[in-house]
């Protein structure tokens, strides 16, 4: 049974291409609306914010920062801490599948239908709520999730104060 898609096959495809694109656009909009909590494109493709997105939490003895860096190896990311500022810097290499998302000119015989995953350098500076002990900061990257644990500087940790009776 012929579907709407069949109408966009050759020889109609020439003038129907813009309609194809429009339909793809609607598919994408619709699927992002229809699926609950769908957030299309994350960390590396957030035009309105500094990439990548981070979650930060604070406990009594440390500040923990987490970022999603899929496809990165430990050597692709650089973390530096100075006083109350943590800098997350790095570069995302081209995807392991071997595709080259080149901006100009396509490989022969290759068509990109979606190219939502960005590549290239990124940098993010995060202001920490307290001073941390830079020499004891630890970072771990597993399954594309980076977790940085920054122990607070000793003077910033809560101190129990003993009350002496007069």
């Amino acid at each position: 049974m012929p579907t709407l898609r069949d109408l966009f096959q050759p020889p109609f495809v020439g003038f129907a291409q813009p309609l194809e694109d429009l339909r793809d656009e609607f598919d994408r909009l619709w699927s992002s609306l229809a699926e609950p909590h769908a957030i299309p494109g994350r960390p590396f493709h957030r035009p309105d914010a500094a990439a990548p997105a981070v979650n930060v939490s604070e406990s009594d003895d440390a500040v923990t920062i987490e970022a999603e860096l899929p496809g990165l190896a430990a050597g692709d990311v650089e973390i530096s801490v100075s006083g109350e500022e943590l800098t997350l810097k790095g570069s995302r290499p081209v995807s392991p599948g071997g595709e080259q998302p080149s901006g100009d000119g396509e490989e022969a015989g290759v068509t990109w239908h979606r190219r939502e995953r960005g590549t290239g350098p990124f940098e993010r500076r995060i202001m920490l709520p307290v001073a941390v002990d830079a020499s004891r900061v630890e970072a771990r990257l597993a399954d594309g999730v980076l977790t940085v644990t920054c122990p607070k500087a000793p003077q910033c940790q809560p101190h129990k104060v003993t009350v002496r009776s007069a």
């Binding site: 909590h37 957030i39 595709e99 190219r115 939502e116 594309g144």
Partner: protein, 130 residues
């Protein structure tokens, strides 16, 4: 399945999610590339591992679902720019694909799915005789 409708902005400022609300599903960012002999789909699924990924192909639609084990940071949250949950996305690829030859791998939170076309429908160069 509980479906609460919160916008992306609300999600960024909401209170720490109680366990009951943590079952959210997200749209992974993808690159979809058609190389003629196969279609390659690369999806960002940080936090997911190979054993938590489900790839199925039915009636021309490829569906990927990555289960992300819940994780939380110690202490009280100061900033929450992204939520943590499963990833799910479906792609209408159409006919002419060899479902039995689909392969997928997941490394460092990136899922790559190779969907080869059936040999008979692969684009062939047709020689024009003069």
């Amino acid at each position: 399945m509980v479906t609460t409708t919160t916008t992306a902005r609300e999600q960024a400022t909401e209170q720490p999610a109680s366990p009951a609300r943590e079952g959210q599903t997200f749209h992974p960012a993808v690159d979809v590339c058609d190389r003629g002999a196969e279609v390659t789909i690369v999806a960002d699924v940080p936090g997911a591992r190979a054993d938590g990924i489900d790839v199925s192909f039915d009636d021309g639609v490829l569906t990927v679902h990555a289960t992300v084990p819940p994780r939380s940071l110690p202490g009280r949250p100061l900033a929450r720019e992204y939520g943590i949950g499963d990833f799910r996305r479906a792609f209408r690829l159409g006919e002419g694909f060899d479902a039995a030859q689909i392969t997928a791998e997941c490394r460092a939170g990136v899922l790559t799915v190779h969907v080869p076309r059936l040999a008979a429908v692969r684009p062939r160069k047709i020689e024009v005789r003069g």
